[in-house]
């Protein structure tokens, strides 16, 4: 049987295959220039969502890594301030121990108590990017009321408690008559409560006891601030105020000794609490650092996986492009030759 082929199919088969190869060539060129499939969705099909999920996860990790910078800055600042507060407290404690209850350098001690109180207040009122970092979640307000400010409620409370107990102001020369035992009673019953509970909130602190919490990795949420309502700061404020503003330079030696003893105990306890706080912050710092490093590794893995899904092998594509070019050229020359191959030319 002789096979029959129509003129139409000779030319159309060639035409169709050239069209197909040209479409492939265009796609290959896109792939070469972008490094990914020309139509990722169509190539990956039902796995497109996987690629999107990986991208979503990777970008979330990137976001958390960026927010961890903010967290780390806050933690670093907190740590530095805690360190300086601790060393200030330690210095004062050392001076108190050296003087050993003698009121000979009471004036110097009083002055350093005052400056320590000032630095405590200004430290706790530190801001970072407009936020008061020791204010707990109430970051728009100063954490601690300035004791030395005009009409300060904390100063007024101390003053009125003193007057109520002894019938005179702290600045009065008559304070030298206050006995050690009545000073002890005043410190325990009238003075100490000013630095605790509702009095602390009313007179001293606007801070929220709720500290800031941050997500530092996909699964880890940690406390990332220290509130000014922490007992360590209350004790420090109490000890500093005691030395700075109870007329210590005029007190009798036994009363002065009572004050310094109470202050020493408070400072010792505060220092140990501060060290605990520093350790806690340090732990969160290292957690944050670890989480950031871990996420960086995770992102590397994710981007490799995304690459595996979406990327093309450039060598393979280059070879394909070369092949296609050769084939298309062959088709062209064949078309030209077939055009010559007609009986009409010979009639």
């Amino acid at each position: 049987m002789t096979s029959y082929i129509s003129t139409q199919s000779i030319s159309s088969s060639m035409r169709q295959s050239i069209l197909k190869m040209q479409a492939e060539l265009a796609a290959s060129q896109t792939e070469l220039s972008t490094g990914t499939y020309a139509d990722i969705g169509q190539t990956l099909g039902s796995r497109t969502g996987d690629s999107l999920s990986l991208q979503t996860q990777s970008s979330l990790l990137q976001t958390i890594t960026e927010t961890n910078q903010t967290v780390a800055t806050r933690l670093d600042t907190t740590q530095t301030i805690l360190g300086s507060l601790q060393s200030n407290a330690q210095d004062l404690l050392n001076s108190l121990i050296e003087s050993n209850g003698s009121n000979s350098n009471a004036g110097t001690i009083q002055a350093s108590g005052e400056s320590n109180l000032q630095s405590l207040i200004s430290s706790l009122n530190s801001t970072l990017g407009g936020d008061y970092i020791f204010s707990g979640t109430n970051t728009s307000n100063q954490a601690i009321t300035n004791y030395f400010g005009p009409a300060a409620p904390n100063k007024a409370a101390v003053d009125s408690a003193f007057t109520a107990a002894f019938g005179m102001a702290q600045t009065s020369a008559g304070v030298s008559a206050i006995s050690a035992s009545s000073m002890q009673t005043f410190l325990d019953t009238a003075f100490a409560p000013l630095f605790q509970g509702a009095n602390w909130a009313a007179g001293w602190s606007s801070a929220s006891s709720q500290t800031l919490t941050n997500r530092i990795s996909e699964s880890q949420t940690v406390d990332t601030s220290v509130s000014a309502n922490n007992p360590a700061f209350q004790q420090l404020a109490q000890a500093y105020t005691m030395i700075a503003d109870l007329g210590t330079q005029n007190l009798s030696s036994p009363a002065y000794q009572t004050v310094t003893t109470v202050a020493r105990n408070l400072l010792t306890s505060a220092i140990s609490s501060l060290i605990d706080l520093q350790a806690g912050v340090g732990l969160v710092q290292s957690d944050t650092n670890d989480a950031t490093n871990q996420m960086s590794l995770q992102m590397n893995i994710l981007s490799t996986q995304i690459g595996n899904l979406e990327s093309v092998n450039p060598y393979e594509i280059t070879t394909r492009v070369t092949d296609l070019q050769t084939q298309i050229e062959t088709s062209y020359s064949l078309t030209a030759q077939l055009q010559q191959l007609s009986l009409i030319k010979y009639l």
Binding site: Y4, I5, S6, T7, Q8, S9, S12, S13, Q16, T34, G35, T36, G41, Q42, T43, L44, G45, S46, R47, T48, G49, D50, S51, L52, S53, L54, Q55, T56, S59, L60, Q62, T63, I64, E66, T67, T70, V71, G129, D131, S135, G136, T137, N138, T139, S140, N141, S208, Q210, L212, T213, N214, R215, T221, I306, G307, E310, S342, L343, I344, L347
Partner: protein, 499 residues
């Protein structure tokens, strides 16, 4: 045998050769005709009286032509679906990762959701920042708009499919009318043994155009009369009369709209109610797109929108009151939506939290978005600038598992981000399937076309060589006539000499 009978035979030969040459010219002219031109064959019979063209037939192959019709319909189905899915794919956009470092350029709800989650995460880390609050709300608004425009695209695809069906139905009716005329001429011509081959070609041409629109099968009766049925068996043309195909189109689509079915001869041939649904052709493809694929994708988008509204709803903090829509809501909503249908098209960011509409972005942190006058829905009762409890809760809800309607055709229980990704996967899987189907069908179509062309088409070289034969035959016959003429003259001269 006489000289005159020899002369008659030679004359008939000349006639036959001329007739054959005329068919040959028809074939050569038809060779480049892309429509279904078939080779005409002159059937020559020889007898004692010479030769003559007894009849003309055309090269035909019913089986191959049937294949071509089937392949045409199947390919048209896939092309219709493929074009629609490519439009739907605009809602996904570029999925490559190269453009996405932290913010992706992709327009898919999945990518916009990811951007929004990241913005919320950044805001949670610095809750006192108005800038970050604004950018989180902005990302939320972009997400809502993304869902709106995706829903609009779905409706647009459905509207286009609907008007495509209407156009297709019109084409079918006009083709059937043409068919009726041509078929009647063929039946008449066959009865009188006229040359109907060109009419048959034209009838085949109509059939292949018809097959583009709707899958068909045909049968031929004894007198050349043809009947057409849909591939599901509904009559389109029978007994010389075309049946009408009707469709009433719907111009505007929303998520709740369902389009009308196409009726042939009064019987529905598309849609779920159809007892004899057609399998192939443009109409079948468009109907699948309009009634099935788009609807499923719409349900997925609605599922995403519904889950967003739920995740960001606010709970009464004071008394056991109803939950109210928070950041994400629909225009004028006073309670949580009960049905997700159409939510993707309606979802919007609550004006009370949107700075561009005069709202306060910080409400995202504090709560009370649902009703700024009602403090029962405020979470941050102390007004702390760095209150994070609500933001953490929102982030947790955003990544919590939610349930979705089964009409989405994908998982019914997943977290939002996974659901949105699964929706993209679903769409791309459909595209990928249809694309490979479409490639396969167009290969089949081109093979069937080539096979038909080879079976019934014209080869010019073949016709040319035939022409040489005819030429020789013509000159031989002419030579014969001259010779007979010479013989007659000789006879006459001799007769004259005799006289």
């Amino acid at each position: 045998m006489s000289l005159s009978s020899a002369s008659n035979i030679a004359k008939s030969g000349l006639n036959t050769v001329s007739a054959e040459t005329s068919f040959l010219s028809r074939n050569v002219t038809g060779a480049s005709d892309t429509a279904t031109y078939s080779r005409k064959i002159a059937n020559v019979i020889s007898s004692l009286d010479g030769s003559r063209v007894a009849s003309v037939t055309r090269a035909s192959n019913l089986a191959v032509f049937g294949n071509l019709l089937g392949a045409t319909s199947a390919s048209a189905t896939q092309n219709a679906i493929s074009a629609g899915l490519d439009t739907l794919n605009q809602t996904v956009g570029d999925v490559s990762s190269s453009s996405s470092s932290t913010t992706s350029n992709s327009t898919s709800p999945a990518a916009l959701l990811s951007n929004f989650t990241n913005a919320l995460q950044s805001y949670e880390a610095s809750p006192s920042s108005v800038t970050l609050a604004n950018s989180a709300v902005f990302a939320a608004a972009t997400l809502a708009q993304g869902l709106n425009s995706a829903a609009a695209t779905v409706n647009q695809v459905r509207e286009q499919a609907d008007s495509g069906i209407a156009a297709s139905v019109q084409t079918i009716n006009s083709l059937l009318a043409q068919f009726q005329t041509v078929n009647a001429q063929i039946v008449g011509g066959t009865a009188t043994s006229a040359d109907v081959t060109d009419l048959q070609d034209s009838r085949d041409n109509i059939l292949s155009q018809l097959a583009q629109q709707i899958g068909i099968t045909t049968t031929i009766g004894a007198n050349g009369d043809m009947s057409i049925y849909t591939d599901s068996g509904v009559t389109l043309f029978q007994g010389g009369a075309a049946r009408s195909v009707t469709f009433s189109s719907t111009h505007t689509y929303t998520a709740a709209t369902s389009g009308n079915a196409v009726y042939a001869d009064g019987i529905p041939i598309t849609g779920s109610s159809a007892a004899m649904p057609i399998a192939n052709g443009t109409i079948a493809g468009l109907a699948t797109l309009r009634d099935s694929l788009s609807v499923t994708y719409q349900a997925q988008l609605d599922g995403i929108a519904g889950a967003l509204i739920n995740a960001f709803s606010e709970t009464d903090q004071a008394a056991p009151g109803p939950d109210l829509p928070g950041l994400f809501t629909t225009q004028g909503a006073t309670s949580l939506p009960t049905s997700t249908t159409g939510l993707a098209g309606q979802i919007t960011v609550n004006p009370s939290v949107d700075p561009s509409q005069g709202g306060n972005a910080l409400l995202l942190r504090d709560g009370g978005i649902s009703d700024t006058a009602n403090s029962d829905y405020t979470y941050n009762t102390t007004g702390d600038a760095s209150y994070t409890a609500r933001l953490s809760q929102l982030l947790a809800k955003l990544s919590a598992t939610q349930t979705y309607s089964a009409s989405g055709g994908i998982t019914t229980s997943a977290n939002l981000s996974d659901y949105a990704a699964a929706s993209v996967s679903w769409l791309e899987a459909q595209r990928s399937n249809v694309s490979s189907q479409s490639n396969y069908q167009s290969t089949l179509l081109s093979t069937a076309g080539t096979a038909l062309s080879n079976a019934t088409g014209v080869n010019i070289n073949d016709e040319m060589s035939k022409m040489l034969d005819l030429e020789n035959s013509y000159s031989a016959t002419a030579k014969l006539l001259t010779t007979i003429d010479g013989m007659f003259s000789m006879l006459m001269t001799d007769l004259g000499n005799l006289a």
